[in-house]
Structure formats: structure tokens, C-alpha cells
Amino acid sequence: MVKQESESANRPDNTAFTQQRLPAWQPILSAGIVIPGFVLIGLAFIGIGVALFVTSKSIQELEFDYTGYSNESPCSSCAQSVVANCKCSLNFTLTTLLQGPVFFYYGLSNYFQNYRRYGASKDDNQLYGDLSYFTSPSSSCSPYDYDSSKKPIVPCGSIANSMFNDTFTLTWTVNGKTNNVSLDGKGIAWWTDYNVKYRNPNVTPLKNAFNGTVKPINWAKPAYELDASDPSNNGFVNQDFLVWMRRAALPNFRKLYRRIDASGDYKNGLPAGNYTVDITYNYPVRAFNGVKKIVFSNVSWMGGRNEFLGIAYLVIGSLCVVMSVVMLIVYAKFKFPDEE
């Protein structure tokens, strides 16, 4: 016995793995699977598509361009002037209730927040509240790392420097009475941005942390004075700042400006009536043919209004059904394999 073993010492092991006999599932694209599969997928897609489309249709959305390119536009004068804090107003009428919760967005077009060097132009360590990066910002912020007098800029970089600085107030005129619509700016940024990614240095008062630094060149006020009304909404955790810093993927984008405070008259959303948006016009976009918009919209389970997904599901679902018929015809006609 021992001898026999040594005689076949080189005999390979008899395992399913070494002998390539592992049990396996060997699916093939047979008509019995493919054609019913296509029908099923097609029907499912049509179902999803209908649901999405209906949902999307139910979302109400109001969009107003206030860039002021045309002379009829209320902000055309502001668009041409170079004065800071130019005021203009935009009126619109709601015939029905805009179902709440209602979100107030500003939108920009032809704006390349996704430009590589723009996107890289920030210092995550500085924004994380690391004081050592206050005095020496990352070179990625260049040319917005130091000002002309070699003082470090905090927050440094192009993104921060280009923060959107138009402001809006909304009034509702009903029965000749003008009401200020209360706008809620709390919690409009991502929870993780507010709580983890961006942090103010642990210095009180916050102002002291910024000693020896200068504000971004385009900013009117330093970071620690962004929100005079709410001291906790200052520095790097200012909600507007956070929203701006989450740069957009595409050149046309909208960002959340405020929520309509769902209280009082606005409990169910924006009631019908005449509204006026008072705009403090600062942000220059005409140089690059940009467009500025304000948008009022509510949301659904699938987010904001986007008809594409629903339509895409419907189209592809229908195509699947059509293809399954084509395949059935081909299969019936040719019926592989006749024989060898």
C-alpha cells in the first residue's frame, strides 16, 4: 500500500477545483428566458415610468429669470450697473396654492463650478477649522491664498471667493395687504457638511481666530460676520456658505436658498395671491453669459421635478415590449437550431 502511494506520488489531486469540475450554473440565452424576460422588464419599466411621470407632473415649480438681459426684465438696470447692493423686485401671481413644503432656490446657468481648478481651489484642512492652515493656506487656493499684501485669505480659494451674494426677500400681497413671507435658512445644507466637514476653530470669540487673515476679496464681510442675526450661523458653518461650497456637477444648477417657513398662512404652502421678490443684486454673471434664476418648488418622494426619469422608463419599457415581439417573430421563423 505504502509502495503504491509512493509510486503515484506525482498523481494530481482529484478535487473538483483541480479537475475543473466545479459545479456550475450554465445559463444560456434561450428564447424561453429572453422573450418572457423582456416582456416582464418592459412591463415593470412601464409601471415605474408611469409612477415617476405622474409624480413628477404633480410637483409644482415656479422659475423666474432675473438676470436682466432684456430691458423688460425688472433687474435690467441692476444688471448694467456696477453698484453694490442694487435693488430690484420681481412680481408673480399664484392662482392656486403651491403645496408645501415649498423650497426657494436660486439657479445659475453656464456657471462652471465643475471646472477642475475651480473645484480644487479650496483648503479642506482650513475649512475643517485647523488654525495652522489659517496662516498658511494650501497652494491649491492660489491665486486666492494670499492677498496683495501677503496676508492669508480665510476662507481661501476660488469657490469661497465666488460665493453667491444676491439676497432675496419674499412678500405676499393679498387683499392689498402686504405680508412678509418668513424664510427659514436653517438646515438647508447637508447634515454632514454642517456637523463634520466644516468646522469653526475652537476659539471664542470666533473673530479672534481670524486675526492676521483677510476676508476673501469679493466678500463684503468677513466670514465671522456673515449672519448678523444669528451668531451661530457664522464662520465656516454658515448655511449659505455650506450650500455654495457643495459645488455643482453641471454648469446649470440650482441651490437651495431658503425654505418657506411652514407656519401661519403658509402652513400648507404658498397660498394663491401676488408675490414680490425683492432682490439685492450683486452677483455678476453677464460677463460669461450666465443666467440667474429664482425657483419655487415643492418635492415628492422622488425629489425635485424631473420628468426625464419617468419618460426614460416609459420609452425603454415600451422598447422592451416591442423587442420581445420582434424576437418572438425571429424565433418562430428561424427556430434555432434546425439540426447540426
Binding site: 503515484s8 494530481p12 475543473q20 440565452l29 481648478r117 491665486p143 426619469l309 434555432f336 437550431p337
Partner: protein
């Protein structure tokens, strides 16, 4: 035995003469000859790192990545962090270095084993045990029996009689029979105390490096160049885009993003390089590592295959090269050696006909002939103590006839025991070993031995045999030796009773011409039997004898002596004398010897030819032998329309014969002058021509020499390639290589050469793939081969199963790999149009780093290691499955472009569906989701799902491992992503993990998942539709077989063993055994008899001594005692030359 060693020295400059003094190290050292140490290793401990890195960076992909790394440190260009390139590069370098290191360690080991073998060397007048590596040029070496020799040696003297040594050169030429070498008389007397100087002209051989090219590798190189071109194209497009954008929009966007440089041209220049970095994933760097791993894995499968393990000598198959597996699936031409490859090189005495009665077949009680197999009852030879126990015979009637003292049967075996040139060795009483020049002779003498006519020993002038237990000494008066013209050999002996007889054996046609008229009836019967033997593929010899008249013989031997000493026309005169005495012979019968084929050879050849593989047998054998084997192994078939034999002796003859053959195959074939090989990228390619019917071609060695000449080679190739089977006989090792080279040169096909001996080495090295038959003594063929196994029949498994699967897997791998990387990369291209051509990546940098290494590596590896369209049994049952590989259908430039197009489609889906789905949309709580980070996460998740699902459709063999790999990779992706985007990671290194929270914030959104679902389905739907329609409309052979498998739902019964093919054909008879002049001269020559044979024979046969007197055994029909006892000594036949020459002429039948 004493030798002195001559090293194999590499020739550095032209040396005309090399002087060596035996046993004088100082003198020899002055020439600075190389040492005897063998070194095949490449690195040592210190040189490994620098040398290996240097070698690796010579690879274009690695060098390219180094270049990328340099680009990435330039801040204006760097569009990706350095780690995205460094991590894969280091991984690639490490894996390759580890592999190179293991290889080199193995080489070191084998070098050490050879170098440290011990040998006795004479140093300072003492024998010392030395390692072979320390042996120096000019050393005197003492070798003992069965020692390995790893140097060139010159024989000085031997302990054997006649100063002979028997050497086996199996490692050099694969021939396992022993070769005789004889020392020079002057050195033979020296013994061990040599102080003579010897001048010697050494000859050195430089073996050429084994240069292979790999089909897929070559295609890959072309593709890589194409990919580089494509990369440059994409980058240029984007750079131009950048120029336009900068000019029109970017210059106006300066409010928020000031320009570093105002010149759009410079910006676009930088953009070009930035995109070179980003789009680098089209250049397949990790592909090479994966390819190596797949090849390694598939090589292991070959090593592990129990169905290629030969239990008889415990030899598993071995993949000695790991880089050629997929080529095994594309073989078009197989060049095979015959002896030891198709045949076992074992000759078996199978049948005989004696005096008109045929022996050897077994019949049952109804008279039905039985098929002989391993269970058939064998004849018991125990009555004969000297019998060779390995000899097997099934027909009991023959041994009965011997026991009944049938005169003809006795004469028959007496002839076999006397008429040969075999040497006997008897180390121990009764243990006889025969040293035969050819295995056929050995088989005949062994047969005689078992049937009671034991050849025991010979001296130059006597042969002693034991006849039915009685010792008889025959006086050997003359050997009329074999040569190729005579095709027969005879001996003239005087029996103990004093009777003079001539025994002759030879080709039947030759013998028949020399028979006495009285034999005509016996001739007819014997001819019938011979035809039957030939029909079984046996090799036949006719035996005849003749009693000689004393007076006539005396006169004849006198003339023979004169002729032998004649200075002019010696050969002719001898031939005339032989012719004169070899006539009026009496026919005894005929023998039939089986040149035993290896198991399963005919079936294998049939399978391979069904797989459209052309088999060319290149053998050193004679034409008859080769043809015979061609028939018995199914290569040539009786059903073939014609078998052409090319044996012309001049250029014109050969040309004419080739033309005739071609015209008869294809009358309308273009003339050679009009037939110009197609030019394919500067390489001439001879296309295959289709002919009706099956043809065979047999070409002789000397004709081949003409056919391989430049003017004829195309003619030859065209004709040969029209034939199903080609046999080249009497070819030299060089010609074997030339034939392979010829096919390689003009045919765009992968060639494989299989052989077992060193005469096949050149051919094995010349072919794309070399296969060595292992498990035998010869190692040279195996050492230079890429694959080795013990039996020819394993070739079908190597090609039809392992080769096919490897090719299939490699092609699937390549197609999928390009698909997944192109898809990955093209998305960046589309995104460029929306981000101002700023070289912004679509995905997270970590995803870019890990995509190839972690997320998609294992699933595709799993597919490439486990995939099989149908299992091995079905592969054998449908050898046509092999054909797509030969035609390169699974992966070609065309399929590469298809991959690229498919990727293009997928990338469009993968970019624009998320683009449209996220356009101006928000989360369900109104917050941002169309931000860059969420978009990146969405796109990369879509991509990963799409390529994983695509892989699922590529895979036709889902094992549990595959499932784990695919699902595991997806799970891993989410695990890694959530980890990378976690608070913890960000807190540790804020700048390295800026995607904090992205996964949490976007993957909880239903529209994100709906987008992922939509893109995944949309990516594969057209693929499925296309594939389904293709299967219905024009199914490939694979589809058909897979469908059959599906219908059968079970493994099919193994193909029925084809019954042994019996054919009724013209017999192929002849003394087809040996190419060389016999040993006759040597054995009759007394000149080298330093030690009398008596002293040796005393050592072994006491039985023989007691039975010195011979009593005639009964009726002696075969031996009519005509002559009276003869006492006068016949002078020894003069032998002038020991040299055995290879006959170069061979007449065709």
C-alpha cells in the same frame, strides 16, 4: 572507464584549433576556457532589484506609467493625485517581481543540482570526488556504470572487453538504445595512469535562444499602439475643445476663476497632458498582471490534470512555460516525431508463419478469431528457465510445436537465434540482457530465446546458443551484413555436428527472388500470411536458409577474403559474392513484428484531424516504416483518394512530382508562377487552397532537401498544405526544423511540434509551441519544450480541452477587460464637454485607484479561471469547437473595435442618464443632490453595476466562486465607499477624503437607485438582444453545442472506441528496422579482443559447459547434413572500419 573532460565552451572568437593537455590543469587554465558550471539563472541577491526593475521598465506600459507619474507631479497638469498611478504601478511591479524571483530561485536550484553532482576526477595522481561544476578542461575522469555525464568527454579506456562502452544519449537525441563507443587502441592500453598529452580540436555548439512569438501578445502590441494613438486622438480633441472653450467662455469666466495664463493655446497644451493622465486607463497596465495570473492558473490546470497523468511511470503533465496557454487553442499544424512519440519504440514479436502455418492468433472453441487484449491468456514459458518473463505470446500452438520438436519450427527459431548482430550480456547466471542495434532485432532474438533457442554469447568466430536446454556452439564463418540495398542479412555457420549452413533473413520481396523453385507452393501460402500481417500493420521479415557444400564454401570464402582485402571496388566485389551465395534458398517462414503504437494514437489523430489540425509526421525512419505507421495510426487511410510519394533524386524530379500531385488534387490550380503569396504587412502568406477529397503526401529525406530549397519551397508548401496528412521520412533534425520554419514563414498559423528525443529539439524549438514526451529516459526534448506529458494521446486533451479553454478564457478576458476600462474612461470624455474641458474627473479619485485593483479585478479573474462553454467530454465529442480558435475568431482587431463601440455606447448611457436624471433635481428634503460629489458617486455606482452585470452575461459557467467574486466585489465597493466617505476617515485626513457624507446623503434617495437600475439595464439590453438574435439567425458552433448540452442535460456517453482499423492493403514489408549498416563488422572482428571472450563466458554459464556435446535433435528436415565435419579455420573477416555510416540513398518501392 576513464575519460578526460572537455568543457562545452562558448565560442567567443573564431578558434581554429584548441589545445588541451590531459591532466594538466595549469596548462589548460592558461587558455581561460570556461568552467564546467552551468548557469541559467539571471539574478543574484544584490542584482535582483535594480536589474529586475530595469527590465520591467523596459515594458512599454510600465514606462508609460512612470512617465505619467512624472506628469502628475507638475501642478499645472496634475489632474489626478499621485496615488492613483502609484498604487497600481507598485502592485504591478511587485507581482511581476515576485514571479521573476520565484522563477530565478527555481533556476538557481536546478543549476545547483546539476552542478553539484559528484564525479571521480584524477587530480595529483589520486582519484578525488569532485562536483561536476569544478571539473576543468583536460581533467581525467573516472565514470562508473549508470552515471550522468555533464561534459563533453573523450573515451580513453574501458573496463569492458574490446574497450567498448555503451552510452545512452537519450538526453541528447532521445534514442534509448545504447550506442557503442570504442577507445583508441593507443589509449585503450593505458589504464588509469595517463600522463600523455593529447591535442584535441574541440567543437562547440551554441544553442540558439528559444525565440517565440505569441499570437495574442503580438496582437496586444498592435492594439496597445492603436490605443496610444486613440488616447492621443481623444486628448487632442479635448485639448482643441479646451482651446475653444477658453477662448469663448473661460476668458469671460475670469470673475470667479482667474486665468493662470492668458494664452488659450498654452492652456490647451496643458489640458492635453492633463487628459493623458485622466484617460490613462485605456492603456491596459493591470491587464498584463491579470494576463500573467490567468496564464499561470491555466498552466496549473494542465499540471493538475489527472487525465493527463500517466500512472505507468508516475508522470503528470507539465506546463513548462506559462505564457503560451491560449496559443494551444489556435494550433493549425502539428509536427510529430514518430519513434517514441507515436510509437512506444517497443517491438513485439507478434505473429509468424512457419512452413505455411500461421501462428499468433487466438481462436475460441468455435474457431472464431479473438481480439487480443490484456486479459487474453498468455503462453507459459516456465519450461524454459532462460525465458524473458516480459515476453508475451498468446498462441499456445506455437509452443506446442516447439515442444513436439517440429523441425521447421526449430530451424525457424535457430535462425532467429543465430542470424543477427545482437550482443548478449549475462551479469548473473541466467539473466540475459541483449544489446540490440535496433529494437526489432532484439525482439526477434528474444522471441527465439523464449521458444527455447537462447542466444547466450558470441565471440568473433562463434555463437553459443542453448537449444531446448542444450548448449551448442556454432562456428561463425561469415556475416553477410545488412545494408539498405541488400535489405537482408545472412550468416554462415557450422553447426556442432559440422554441418555448414547459411541463414538469411530479409525483406520478403528480396528473399523471394532468391528462393529455390521447390518453395513456390510454400511461397504462395506465406505470401497470403504476409498480406494478412501487413494488413494488421505489422512489419514482416522472411526467413530462409540453405545448406552449403563444403568445397564450394571453401572456395567462396577464399574469394571473399580476396574481395575483402581488395583495394578497389571492395564493396561491389563483396556484393557480387554475397549475391552469388545467397541463392536457391529454402523458405522457412516469416516473422511479423508490431511496432507498438502508444495507446490511443489513432483515436487522437482522428480527433485532431476532425478539429481541422493538420498533422505532419517528421521521422528519421525509412519510408516503408513511416508509411506503415502512418496507416496504422490512422494518419493515412485507405479511403484517401491518393497518397503521393515524392522521392525524386533531383530538383527537377521533385518539382515534377510535386506538380503532378497538385494537378491531380486540383487540376485548375494556378501555376506557381501565377500563384504569388499574398502580402500581409510585408510578410508573404500562402493562403489555404481547398481541394476535393482527402490526400496524403509522403516525402523522402533527400527529396525534402530539394523541396526545401528556395526555388521549390513554395511549391512544396502549397502541395503539402492541400493534403490532409504529410509524412516526411528520413529527415535530419535540421530538416525537421526547416519544415517547421517553412510553415511558420508562409502560413499565418500556430504550429506545434511534439517529440521525445534530442533529434526533435530543433523542431520543438522552431515551432511556436514545443511539446516533449516525458517519463522516458531522454530529457533533452522535454527540457526545450513548453509542455510535456507522457503519452501522445494527451495531446488531444492539451489542445481540445486545455488549449481551447485557455484561448476562450483569454479572449473573453481581453474583450471584457477592454470593455470595462474603455467604458470607465469614455465617461470622462463625455464629461469634458460639460466641465470646460478642464480635465475634471467624473469619479472620486479613490474609485479611480481601486476600480481595476479591487472592484473589478476578482470577478473578471474568476471568469478567466473558471469559464468553460461546454465541459471536456463535450469538447471531445465536438472537436469542431476548436476551429474558431484557429481562425482567431474570439479576439481580433474586429472584436476589439466591437468592444470599443460597445464601451462607447455604455459610456454614453452611463454619463447621460445620470446627467439627465440629476439635472436640476433635488433630494426629497429639498437639499442638494446634483452636486459634483453625489454625481460622481452616482456615475461610478452605475458604472460598477453595469460592468458587473455585463460580466454576468459574458460568463457561461457560474461557479460558487464566481458568485462570491461578483457579489463580493459589489459588497466590497459599498463597504470601501462607506468607509472612505465616513466621518472617521475624514477626521484623520481631511484633504484625502473630501467625499465625506456623500454616500449617506445620496444613496438613500429613491431616484438615485432608479437611475442606477435604469443605466444598468439599459447597458445590457442591446447586448442581450443582439446576442439572442445572433444565436437565432446565425448560431456559432459554440451556440449549437451549448444548446445540445442544454437538451441532453447530462454528459454524453464517451465516444465509442473505434475498433482497430483493419485494412486490406498491399503489404509494406521489408527489413525496415535499421538505417545503418549492421554491427556485423564489429562482432566478427577479433582485432579488439583484448580480453578473450572465454574469460568472460566462464563467468556466466556453467550449464553451457556441461552440455558441450550436441546431439542432433531428431528429424532434421531443415538440416540435411551434407557436409562433413570441417576443421580448417576460416580466416577472420577483415574489418577496416568501425564507423557506422548512415546510408543516404534509399530506393522507393
Amino acid at each position: 572507464m576513464s575519460f578526460f573532460g572537455l568543457d562545452c565552451v562558448r565560442k567567443k572568437e573564431r578558434e581554429l584549433e584548441r589545445k588541451i593537455r590531459a591532466n594538466d590543469r595549469e596548462y589548460n587554465l592558461s587558455f581561460k576556457y570556461a568552467t564546467n558550471a552551468i548557469k541559467t539563472s539571471k539574478y543574484n541577491f544584490f542584482t535582483f532589484l535594480p536589474l529586475n526593475l530595469f527590465e520591467q521598465f523596459q515594458r512599454i506600459a510600465n514606462a508609460y506609467f512612470l512617465f505619467l507619474l512624472v506628469l502628475q507631479v507638475i501642478p499645472q497638469i496634475s489632474s489626478l493625485s499621485w496615488f492613483t498611478t502609484v498604487v497600481p504601478l507598485i502592485l504591478v511591479l511587485t507581482v511581476t517581481a515576485a514571479k521573476d524571483a520565484t522563477d530565478d530561485i527555481n533556476r538557481h536550484r536546478s543549476d545547483n543540482r546539476v552542478n553539484n553532482r559528484k564525479v571521480q576526477v584524477l587530480i595529483d595522481r589520486k582519484l578525488r570526488s569532485e562536483k561536476w561544476m569544478n571539473v576543468q578542461v583536460g581533467d581525467i575522469i573516472k565514470l562508473e556504470n549508470n552515471q550522468f555525464v555533464t561534459a563533453d568527454l573523450l573515451l580513453l579506456s574501458s573496463s569492458e572487453p574490446l574497450n567498448l562502452v555503451y552510452i545512452e544519449t537519450a538526453e541528447l537525441d532521445g534514442e534509448t538504445n545504447l550506442k557503442v563507443r570504442q577507445a583508441l587502441p593507443v589509449t585503450g592500453d593505458l589504464g588509469d595512469d595517463i600522463e600523455k598529452l593529447a591535442d584535441f580540436n574541440g567543437e562547440t555548439v551554441n544553442t540558439h535562444a528559444h525565440t517565440q512569438f505569441f499570437h495574442i501578445d503580438r496582437l496586444m502590441n498592435v492594439l496597445v499602439i492603436f490605443i496610444f494613438g486613440f488616447l492621443a486622438f481623444m486628448c487632442s480633441v479635448l485639448a482643441i475643445g479646451n482651446y475653444i472653450w477658453e477662448k469663448n467662455e473661460g476668458s469671460q469666466f475670469t470673475v470667479f476663476l482667474p486665468r493662470l495664463e492668458d494664452d488659450p493655446a498654452f492652456s490647451s497644451f496643458l489640458t492635453f497632458w492633463s487628459y493623458v493622465i485622466i484617460l490613462n486607463t485605456v492603456v491596459p497596465i493591470s491587464l498584463y498582471v491579470s494576463v500573467e495570473i490567468i496564464r499561470l492558473g491555466n498552466s496549473f490546470y494542465i499540471d493538475w490534470d489527472r487525465k493527463m497523468y500517466y500512472a505507468h511511470n508516475d508522470t503528470p503533465a507539465e506546463a513548462r512555460t506559462t505564457t503560451l496557454n491560449e496559443e494551444l487553442g489556435q494550433i493549425k499544424y502539428v509536427f510529430s516525431d514518430k519513434t517514441g512519440t507515436l510509437t512506444q519504440n517497443i517491438m513485439i514479436f507478434n505473429k509468424c508463419t512457419i512452413n505455411g502455418k500461421c501462428y499468433g492468433d487466438v481462436y475460441d472453441y468455435t474457431g472464431q478469431r479473438l481480439e487480443i487484449n490484456e486479459y487474453t491468456d498468455t503462453v507459459d514459458f516456465s519450461f524454459n528457465p532462460l525465458a524473458d518473463s516480459r515476453f508475451v505470446f498468446h498462441d499456445h500452438s506455437l509452443v506446442e510445436a516447439v515442444k513436439l520438436e517440429n523441425t521447421e519450427v526449430h530451424a525457424f527459431f535457430r535462425l532467429l537465434a543465430l542470424c543477427h548482430t545482437v550482443m548478449a550480456e549475462e551479469k548473473k547466471e541466467g539473466e540475459l540482457f541483449y544489446q540490440a542495434q535496433s529494437p526489432d532485432e532484439g525482439a526477434l532474438v528474444t522471441a527465439a530465446r523464449n521458444f527455447g533457442f537462447v542466444f547466450r554469447s558470441r565471440t568473433p568466430d562463434s555463437i553459443s546458443i542453448v537449444e531446448m536446454g542444450k548448449q551448442c556452439n556454432y562456428e561463425l564463418l561469415a556475416i553477410l551484413d545488412f545494408n539498405n540495398v541488400r535489405k537482408r542479412m545472412s550468416v554462415i555457420v557450422r553447426s556442432p555436428e559440422g554441418k555448414l549452413s547459411l541463414y538469411c533473413k530479409g525483406a520478403d520481396t528480396i528473399i523471394y527472388e532468391r528462393l529455390h523453385q521447390s518453395c513456390s507452393k510454400l511461397m504462395d501460402v506465406t505470401t497470403e500470411h504476409l498480406n494478412e500481417f501487413a494488413g494488421d500493420g505489422l512489419r514482416t521479415l522472411a526467413l530462409a536458409y540453405k545448406d552449403l557444400d563444403e568445397e564450394y564454401f571453401n572456395q567462396w570464402i577464399q574469394r571473399h577474403h580476396e574481395a575483402n582485402t581488395a583495394l578497389e571496388d571492395r564493396e561491389d566485389k563483396l556484393d557480387q559474392l554475397y549475391e552469388e551465395i545467397e541463392k536457391d534458398l529454402l523458405l522457412l517462414g516469416a516473422t511479423a513484428i508490431e511496432d507498438k503504437l502508444q495507446d490511443g494514437v489513432p483515436q487522437t489523430i482522428e480527433q485532431l484531424s476532425k478539429a481541422d489540425i493538420k498533422i505532419w509526421v517528421l521521422t528519421g525512419d525509412k519510408q516503408e516504416t513511416a508509411e506503415n505507421i502512418g496507416y496504422s495510426c490512422n494518419l493515412l487511410r485507405e479511403e484517401m483518394n491518393d497518397v503521393f510519394i515524392i522521392s525524386g533524386n533531383s530538383l527537377e524530379d521533385v518539382q515534377q512530382e510535386l506538380r503532378n500531385a497538385r494537378t491531380s488534387m486540383k487540376p485548375d490550380a494556378a501555376e506557381n508562377s501565377e500563384f504569388l503569396p499574398e502580402m500581409d504587412k510585408g510578410v508573404k502568406v500562402v493562403t489555404d487552397e481547398v481541394v476535393n477529397g482527402e490526400y496524403g503526401l509522403v516525402i523522402n529525406g533527400h527529396s525534402l532537401a530539394y523541396a526545401l530549397e528556395h526555388s521549390l519551397e513554395l511549391e512544396f508548401l502549397r502541395t503539402a498544405c492541400m493534403c490532409k496528412a504529410v509524412i516526411c521520412c528520413r529527415v535530419t533534425p535540421l530538416q525537421k526544423a526547416q519544415v517547421v520554419e517553412l510553415v511558420k514563414k508562409y502560413k499565418k498559423a500556430v504550429t506545434l511540434a511534439i517529440g521525445d528525443g534530442a533529434n526533435d529539439v530543433s523542431m520543438i524549438k522552431a515551432a511556436h509551441i514545443g511539446v516533449g514526451i516525458s517519463g522516458q529516459e531522454g530529457m533533452q526534448a522535454v527540457l526545450s519544450s513548453d509542455y510535456s506529458f507522457a503519452q501522445f494521446r494527451f495531446l488531444q486533451r492539451l489542445l481540445l480541452v486545455h488549449g481551447r479553454w485557455s484561448y476562450l478564457r483569454m479572449c473573453k478576458f481581453l474583450r471584457y477587460f477592454f470593455y470595462k476600462n474603455f467604458t470607465f474612461t469614455f465617461v470622462h470624455f463625455w464629461f469634458a464637454f460639460f466641465c470646460g474641458f478642464s480635465a475634471q474627473t467624473v469619479y472620486d479619485e479613490w474609485f479611480i485607484t481601486l476600480y481595476n485593483l479591487m472592484y473589478t479585478a476578482l470577478p473578471v479573474l474568476g471568469m478567466s479561471l473558471f469559464d468553460q462553454d461546454v465541459n471536456d467530454v463535450w469538447s471531445f465529442q465536438h472537436p469542431q469547437l476548436y476551429v474558431p480558435g484557429q481562425l482567431n475568431l474570439y479576439f481580433s482587431k474586429k472584436s476589439f473595435f466591437k468592444c470599443a463601440l460597445h464601451s462607447c455606447y455604455s459610456s454614453l448611457v452611463l454619463f447621460f442618464i445620470p446627467y439627465a436624471a440629476m439635472y436640476d433635481t433635488v433630494r426629497d428634503d429639498g437639499k442638494d443632490i446634483a452636486d459634483y460629489q453625489s454625481f460622481a458617486l452616482l456615475t461610478q455606482t452605475c458604472l460598477l453595476f453595469a460592468v458587473s452585470i455585463q460580466l454576468g452575461f459574458e460568463m457561461s459557467y457560474w461557479t460558487a466562486v464566481n458568485t462570491i467574486f461578483v457579489l463580493g466585489s459589489l459588497v466590497m465597493y459599498f463597504a470601501v465607499t462607506f468607509t472612505m466617505y465616513s466621518n472617521g476617515m475624514f477626521t484623520i485626513l481631511p484633504s484625502a477624503f473630501p467625499f465625506i457624507g456623500t454616500a449617506r446623503n445620496s444613496l438613500n434617495q429613491p431616484n438615485v437607485w432608479l437611475t442606477i437600475f435604469l443605466t444598468s439595464i439599459l447597458c445590457v439590453l442591446p447586448v442581450i438582444t443582439n446576442r439572442f438574435l445572433m444565436i437565432q439567425l446565425c448560431p456559432t458552433i459554440n451556440d449549437k453545442v451549448m444548446f445540445k448540452v442544454r437538451q441532453a442535460k447530462a454528459t454524453p456517453a464517451p465516444p465509442t472506441q473505434r475498433a482497430r482499423i483493419r485494412r486490406t492493403s498491399s503489404r509494406r514489408s521489408g527489413y525496415a528496422f535499421s538505417h545503418a549498416q549492421g554491427y556485423g563488422d564489429l562482432v566478427t572482428s577479433g582485432r579488439f579482443l583484448r580480453r578473450p571472450a572465454l574469460t568472460r563466458s566462464s563467468g556466466f554459464t556453467h550449464v553451457g559447459r556441461t552440455t558441450t556435446s550436441f546431439s542432433p535433435m531428431g528429424r532434421s528436415a531443415g538440416y540435411s547434413p551434407t557436409g562433413r565435419p570441417q576443421n580448417n579455420k576460416v580466416p577472420n573477416v577483415e574489418v577496416t572500419s568501425l564507423q557506422m555510416y548512415r546510408t543516404i540513398t534509399d530506393s522507393a518501392p
